[in-house]
């Protein structure tokens, strides 16, 4: 049994900026436990000779040359923003970092 506690679920939710109710926390804790336990079982089957599958297609070194291409105009860059001012995106003040 893994260690997904209600507090850990709340912490994950806050990192992901998702609002969760106490009921949802309880449900999610249960579901996440099942997922984590399942992964733990799969991990036991994996020996050192199994390659990571993050990039299963054998392909590497896909580069672009260092060439400048046209950018958006300031107007079009800002056109979908909820709010803007002085040519910049305007966002709520965020207090936990400078």
């Amino acid at each position: 049994m893994s260690e997904i506690t209600p507090d850990l679920v709340r912490h994950l939710a806050s990192l992901s900026r998702i609002l969760v109710t106490d009921e949802e926390v309880a449900t999610l804790a249960g579901e996440l436990n099942v997922i984590v336990d399942s992964i733990a079982i799969v991990t036991q089957a994996v020996k050192g000779d199994v390659l990571a599958t993050s990039h299963p297609i054998p392909m590497a070194n896909v580069f672009r040359e260092d060439v400048v291409e046209p950018s958006l105009t300031q107007e079009s860059a800002l056109s979908a923003a909820p709010d803007s001012a002085e040519g910049r995106f305007r966002v709520a003040a965020i207090l936990d970092e400078e």
């Binding site: 990571a52 070194n61 040359e65 260092d66 300031q74 970092e97 400078e98």
Partner: protein, 499 residues
């Protein structure tokens, strides 16, 4: 928040062992960004170098800038690192508006370079070896401006404005292993290390390396522990200390602040801190997140980077000489006094003097031009001496004409003025301004005779042994010839007349 209580520095060093760790971010000077083709330019109108990729619009796909990878490998090699045969990018997830994607594309468990070392020489010649843990590739974030509140600082801000021109600019983050044993010299070593990194990336031309523009930024980790304790003390990370002086001052401040807390039975909070250069203190930022909170995972939109040995060796072959070794070599070759050499180094004129010497000037003459007349002219025009429109070759040519007696010092300064005014090469300026040392003694002798006629007693005095009497006539002759003669030659001719 104001300054906290500090323990006197000497006392802190006596009681505690200092351990530092440095993270230096180097912005690469590629033409385009790390993952898209937007221009990598400082100072443009906000949000004009942005595209769907660097502002994270749905469906956009990044592509790695080959030159940025090359520069990263070059930095790794210059720091004596191993280059990873394969490496992936990872997503570092966090919600903050400096990156619109809600993650930073970085490297986590597979950095491109690791396990290097670099020798750092302090001003008095003491050398410390600093071990490099890793150097990895990532992208820079956008620039936030906090509006409202008294000072424009984040405290009291009503809202923030975001410019994403810098978002996606390629960065290399260089991380040291913990540095032990520097003791009282830890602050100095920290600054010297950042200086060395800056010098290396600048010599390689992979970064503009201008600290005032944030091209090179340092986060300084500081912890202290009682002597004999094996466990490391809790560290703080002072962010974005953006000048060498700030690095030194911030490390010193943290040592004193932490020492005061520990000596009074307190505990250090693991946190990021902000350095306030104007008033010389650090203040608490956010509590340091665990790496787990970033939920790193492999970037699925980018394939691994697998530099071949051939490519790595090709890059290694392009590395310039290490700046520290180069200084040693040049100082020996030029035979300058230590102060003279330091003057050249501190004025950032090594390249100019070296090129001028290579073009045929004597080292001392080359030094005098660049740190003397040219520095003075640059200063009066309020430009950097490196930006003056005169080349080392032109300077060497002018010096050569002085050495051969074709120009006097005064005329040489005129030639320099002409070159700077855009009148062409020294030869063209000489031609245009009619600056030729008069080598036809006929005109000169006539001028001397005329001057002597006006001061008839001079020859008599010289004959009596008062050679200095010639001075008055030399002055008059120089004036008559508008400086275009060699004063030594005038003197010689006057003395001949007196025989």
């Amino acid at each position: 928040m104001a300054k906290e209580a500090l323990m006197p520095y000497e006392q802190a060093i006596e009681q505690f062992e200092v351990v530092i760790g440095l993270e230096v971010h180097v912005e690469l000077n590629t033409k385009s960004k790390m993952f898209c083709g937007c221009a990598n330019i400082f100072g443009n109108e906000p949000n004009t170098n942005v595209c769907p990729i660097c502002i994270g619009l749905p469906g956009s796909l990044p592509a790695v800038n080959k030159k940025a990878v090359e520069s990263s490998i070059a930095i790794g090699l210059a720091l004596g690192c191993q280059i990873a045969p394969t490496g992936r990018f990872s997503r570092k997830n966090y919600f903050y508006p400096d990156l619109a994607k809600n993650f930073q594309t970085s490297q986590y468990d597979e950095p491109i370079a690791s396990e290097g070392k670099i020798n750092i020489e302090l001003e008095d010649g003491v050398v410390f070896e600093v071990l490099i843990e890793r150097a990895h590739m990532e992208e820079d974030a956008g620039k936030l401006t906090h509006i409202g509140g008294a000072t424009g600082r984040i405290q009291g801000a009503e809202y923030s404005l975001v410019d994403y021109n810098r978002a996606g600019v390629p960065l290399v983050e260089i991380v040291t292993k913990p540095v032990y044993g520097a003791g009282a010299r830890a602050p100095e070593l920290a600054a010297a290390y950042v200086h060395a990194i800056r010098e290396i990336v600048k010599s390689m031309n992979v970064s503009d390396a201008r600290m005032e523009r944030g091209n090179v930024r340092c986060d300084a980790n500081v912890s202290i522990r009682p002597y004999g304790q094996t466990k490391l003390g809790t560290r703080t990370e002072t962010k974005n200390v953006n000048s060498l002086r700030s690095v030194e001052n911030a490390v010193r401040y943290e040592i004193q602040r932490q020492a005061h807390i520990l000596a009074n039975g307190g505990t250090i909070t693991q946190e990021t801190r902000h350095w306030h250069e104007d008033r010389g203190y650090t203040s608490a930022g956010r509590p340091k997140s665990d790496a787990d909170d970033y939920r790193y995972f492999p970037e699925p939109d980018l394939v691994p980077v697998q530099p071949s040995l051939a490519w790595i060796e090709e890059i290694r072959a392009t590395l310039p000489e290490n700046p520290g070794l180069r200084r040693k070599r040049l100082m020996e070759a030029w035979g300058f006094a230590e102060l003279e050499f330091r003057d050249v180094v501190n004025s950032d004129l090594l390249d100019q003097v070296e090129a001028t010497v290579a073009a045929g000037a004597a080292p001392q003459a080359a030094r005098k031009w660049w740190t003397g007349e040219l520095a003075r002219l640059a200063n009066s025009q309020e430009v950097a001496v490196q930006d003056l429109s005169i080349t080392p070759t032109q300077v060497a040519k002018i010096q050569q004409l002085i050495d051969s007696g074709e120009l006097t010092d005064r005329m040489a300064r005129d030639v320099v003025a002409g070159v700077l005014a855009g009148e062409g090469d020294p030869e063209a300026v000489i031609e245009k301004r009619g600056l030729k040392v008069v080598s036809d003694d006929g005109a000169l002798i006539a001028a001397i005779d005329e001057a002597l006629a006006k001061q008839p007693d001079v020859l008599e005095k010289i004959r009596e042994g008062k050679v200095q009497a010639a001075g008055a006539v030399i002055g008059a002759v120089m004036q008559a010839m508008r400086g275009q003669v060699d004063a030594a030659r005038v003197r010689e001719l006057i003395l001949e007349r007196a025989k």
